[in-house]
């Protein structure tokens, strides 16, 4: 261990892995997906859609399996099932008296179970572990291309509708009263959520993707009272933790998705304790006058 510390050089820790093609790819995809999910996470946390994020990310599972079986790009299948699950949740909510969170839980587990069954039935070369836990280190070139396209779409939509979506999260009544189509914004946000879940699936997998969609936003929310700054902080913290997670996973030979999410959680805990205004330690001090 001492030997390791003596020979440890931060530069080579960062640079050495770049000699591998797969590491360059993994770092780029993780950083990109991290940034995209970080951006979206601001809206998810402010709108209170954590559970919805969980639902959509699980519901894409059968879509991925079906797409592979049909030889389609997996993102198309995932998107269809993501949006489909949301539509289904909306439909059941409207037509029954069951509470929304119950319906969300019901629909997403149903979809996820369908995915599991399909994987076991459709004999193909899909590696269940890759879908469930992501495999940024083994990502193929065509998957990289898909991820870049998805990220581009998500970022463009979020950039164009940044303000409208903020207003929609903050005060939908006012948005409607000034003639903004809130129904459209609702479905836009849900579509973007489905797309981001598909992108996130590449790096951390279905099970953990919801962390990418809420943790950076929650962290940033503790650090600032300004929406723009919150967006910026979420994107930065999410990108950095994704990249750092891949490095740690490479050097320590641990599961990549888990490592990325753990770094994000660690940053959140740090903000939770030490945030200048809303940190735990700060608020204890400020009680005394």
């Amino acid at each position: 261990m001492n030997e390791f510390l003596a020979s440890f050089s931060p530069i080579s820790w960062l640079v050495d892995p770049l000699s591998h093609d797969f590491m360059r790819r993994a770092l780029m995809v993780s950083g990109l997906v991290g940034g995209v999910c970080g951006f979206l996470s601001c809206y998810m946390t402010l709108k209170g859609w954590a559970l919805m994020g969980d639902a959509v990310s699980h519901a894409v599972m059968p879509g991925v399996v079906v797409a592979y079986a049909l030889g389609l790009p997996f993102s198309i299948g995932a998107f269809v099932f993501g949006v489909g699950s949301v539509a289904l949740i909306g439909f059941v909510k409207q037509k029954s008296r069951v509470k929304e969170d119950t319906i969300i839980g019901l629909v997403f587990t149903g979809f996820f179970a369908l995915g599991l069954v399909l994987v076991s039935k459709i004999k193909s070369n899909i590696d269940l572990m890759h879908i469930l836990f992501g495999s940024p280190l083994g990502i193929s070139l065509s998957d990289v291309r898909q991820t870049i396209i998805i990220s581009g779409i998500v970022v463009s939509i979020l950039l164009i509708f940044r303000r409208d979506l903020m207003l929609y999260c903050f005060d939908p009544t006012h948005a409607r009263s000034i003639g903004i189509n809130t129904g459209l914004l609702h479905y836009l946000l849900l579509s973007v959520l489905s797309l981001a879940a598909v992108a996130g699936l590449q790096t951390v997998g279905i099970i953990l993707v919801v962390a990418m969609l809420i943790t950076p936003g929650a962290t940033a929310y503790l650090l600032t009272d300004r929406f723009d700054r919150m967006t910026f902080l979420a994107i930065i913290s999410s990108s950095i933790s994704s990249i750092l997670g891949v490095y740690i996973s490479y050097w320590s030979d641990i599961e990549t998705g888990g490592s990325i999410v753990l770094v994000q959680t660690a940053i959140f805990l740090f903000a939770f304790l030490f945030a200048p205004r809303y940190g735990l330690l700060k608020s204890q001090r400020s009680i005394s006058p």
Binding site: R163, D171, S177, I178, G179
Partner: protein, 264 residues
């Protein structure tokens, strides 16, 4: 003087509602409610709790769908009027998340969104409108505060400022006076009179009957339907009020005798 989004020839109705009926899953909240307001007037909407005042506002804004009736604002159907920024609405309870990371300035700027381009980039004129609106409600010094760091009354003023910044020709204010201090009450009353002189139309619901006497030109008394409607001096009579509030003595309503004996 503020510019207002005026799309009308002066003598037609700013607010036109004809025989509106609204029910909530079969429970009737409002029936056959009609109202016509011209430009440059303040109209008070008076009725007891549950009389359907908020429902009337929501129907005018298209937030509840009337089962029957016709609504026009500035001669336009409601969605068009909203898109053209003809109408501003301040609900009874904003029902917003007070820990949302936006400042007072940004909240008031939201009143301008409808007049901005797709990306909602503020122009100089938008900034001026926001500044002016904040000055009018005396919140200019608090403009950088997060919205959650305001008191209840200050927050009410911030949302009023947002409606002002919108520069709409029709203002729908659902209980703007609840929970504000005397000074703000005075400030708001002056503001409304000023708006009236600018040719805007203001519909205000209130439980304080002295407001109606002080500055409303017209009054609508409702209890699930319009009971009486017209010039304040003609309609705001003890008999009509007794009818509106279900048989309470007019003396009690006008507040000239002690309302409740606290000692009993």
């Amino acid at each position: 003087m503020d510019l207002i989004n005026d799309h009308s020839i002066d003598d037609f109705c700013r607010i036109y509602a004809e025989e509106i009926c609204v029910d909530y899953n079969g429970t009737v909240a409002l029936y056959d409610a009609s109202l016509q307001l011209k430009s440059g007037c303040i109209c008070g909407l008076v009725g007891m709790n549950g009389a359907g005042k908020s429902t009337f506002f929501k129907a005018l804004m298209g937030f509840v769908r009337p089962s029957r009736g016709k609504i026009r604002i500035n001669g336009l159907d409601v969605p068009t009027a909203q898109r053209e920024q003809a109408v501003a609405y301040v609900p009874q309870n904003e029902g917003i998340d007070c820990s949302f990371p936006v400042s007072v300035w940004e909240v008031v700027m939201m009143g301008r969104y409808g007049s901005m381009n797709l990306l909602r980039v503020p122009r100089e004129s938008d900034r001026k409108a926001v500044w002016h609106a904040l000055e009018r409600v005396e919140l200019i010094d608090l403009r950088k505060r997060p919205i959650g760091a305001l008191s209840g009354g200050q927050r009410k003023r911030a949302f009023l400022a947002r409606a002002i910044a919108q520069r709409a020709s029709v203002l729908l204010l659902d209980e703007p006076f609840s929970g504000v201090d005397v000074r703000t009450e005075k400030l708001m009353a002056d503001l409304f009179l000023q708006f009236k002189n600018e040719g805007r139309t203001i519909l205000i619901s209130t439980h304080d009957l002295s407001h109606v006497r002080d500055f409303c030109d017209l009054v609508v008394l409702i209890n699930k339907t319009v009971l009486a409607y017209g010039e304040t001096s003609e309609v705001f009579t003890p008999e009509n009020l007794t009818m509106t509030f279900g048989g309470m003595s007019p003396d009690f309503l006008s507040g000239s005798t002690p309302a409740i004996d606290l000692n009993t």
